[in-house]
Point group: C2
């Protein structure tokens, strides 16, 4: 049985991530949320707030993946150029969205003309774009298969949560893991054999060190939970046969 795969690319747009100033957490949040819905993040890119990079990158990945999710660059300041770049990538004009503009005006009664003008930048969306709800502020937008989310993690999460049930999804990928105090090299040959036998399952090996010493976490991922459970049993047997100790039981994630 072939799994139905729907994939996505995440574009983290922001100089502050590339400079090392800010630790990105949006990729992990998006991957976990989409993964739970049956959409696999197949690639992520972190790119600067530069039109000459954003436009060709969006063009490339929107053609390559089922979905693209961007984060960052949708505020009211000069460095917020995501909407303009998406419009260029799709070769459509950037237009004021009446609904967003009215929402911003209704919340800006006390604002000066200059402040209102800055806020109205957030109402500019590529022509033909749809809205992405944002419970805490002006909506984001989507243009065909590209969803434009905020960079602030809490706002991004709210916007993403609102997309639940609105996206095409594939088979969900489940995972299970075995934590063992064993060196990777002791189980490497056995794991390789298991992987060859089960090409539809992804077996990953991740060394760690904790209070109990050096060990390896073996993570299995696939669309059939019963296959994963059987595989974890075989991995536990492999660990024991290799002289390793099991740290705990497999945990489904």
């Amino acid at each position: 049985m072939t799994a139905k795969v729907v994939n996505a690319c995440v574009l983290i747009i922001g100089n502050e991530i590339l400079s090392g100033r800010t630790q990105d957490t949006n990729l992990r949040d998006i991957a976990n949320t989409l993964g739970g819905w049956g959409i696999r993040v197949a690639e992520a890119r972190v790119i600067p707030d530069e039109e000459s990079v954003i436009v060709p990158t969006v063009r490339e990945v929107k053609a390559k993946y089922d979905y693209v999710f961007t984060t960052g660059g949708i505020g009211p300041t000069h460095d917020d150029i995501t909407a303009m770049c998406i419009a260029k990538a799709f070769e459509v004009p950037l237009v004021e969205h009446e609904g967003i503009a009215n929402l911003i005006r209704s919340r800006s009664q006390d604002a000066s003309e200059a402040v209102l003008a800055s806020r109205l930048r957030m109402a500019m969306v590529p022509e033909g774009g749809g809205l992405v709800d944002n419970p805490g502020g002006p909506p984001g937008f989507r243009m065909e298969n590209v969803y434009v989310l905020a960079g602030i993690p809490s706002v991004m999460r709210d916007m993403l949560a609102g997309l639940k049930g609105k996206l095409e999804t594939g088979d969900q990928v489940f995972s299970a893991s075995v934590k063992a105090y064993v060196t990777e090299s002791s189980v490497a040959a056995g794991l390789g054999t298991l992987q060859s036998e089960l090409p539809n399952v992804d077996i990953g090996s991740y060394p760690f060190r904790d209070a109990g010493g050096y060990g390896t976490r073996l993570v299995v991922r696939g669309t059939d939970q019963s296959v994963l459970d059987d595989l974890c049993d075989r991995i536990r047997a492999l660990v024991r046969a290799s002289g390793g100790a099991l740290a705990d039981e497999a945990s489904s994630e």
Copy 2:
């Protein structure tokens, strides 16, 4: 005066990052370390442990950037395919490096044949590759401008630290910031004017919320510290003129 720019691309190789299971921290560490040496991370990509993705990606970015740093996929298990993929990207064979192999053999006196064979996978490097020291284990390698580092953060940091003084570097980028309780839209027009005046400085605006309320952190980056200091003074004046409150003084990072 034009700044001398040396740039880099970071490739985070690992399904565990794309699945959302593991939070990557290597990008931030690499960006901070390289930034301190005068090398700018211009792009980062997170890609899966798949030859069909790794090989073309390495080919593309090694031609596009001065340096490429990869993390992940250099252990002894079946899912560690980075070295093989780098060899393919450079169209050279993967060969056993005598120095690494001898080091592994000397540390594997008690190991079985099978375990030794798995460990010796870590001695396979692309023909013509140089070594990257690893104080805690088998060395990584570099192939022309591509540096192959471990995925485990502590090991990655040790390997990267060992490259200090061995890389071509450009002008260092400094940063300074002003934290203010002011909305982005209140200062947006003024910031845009400052950015137009100073095209060689990068002015970023990052909204936040903390115990003091909603605010904006204005971060300036450039190669001339005195320009940044002057700019921070002007940003503080802009915040005050916009009715905002300064949360603290500019801090150099």
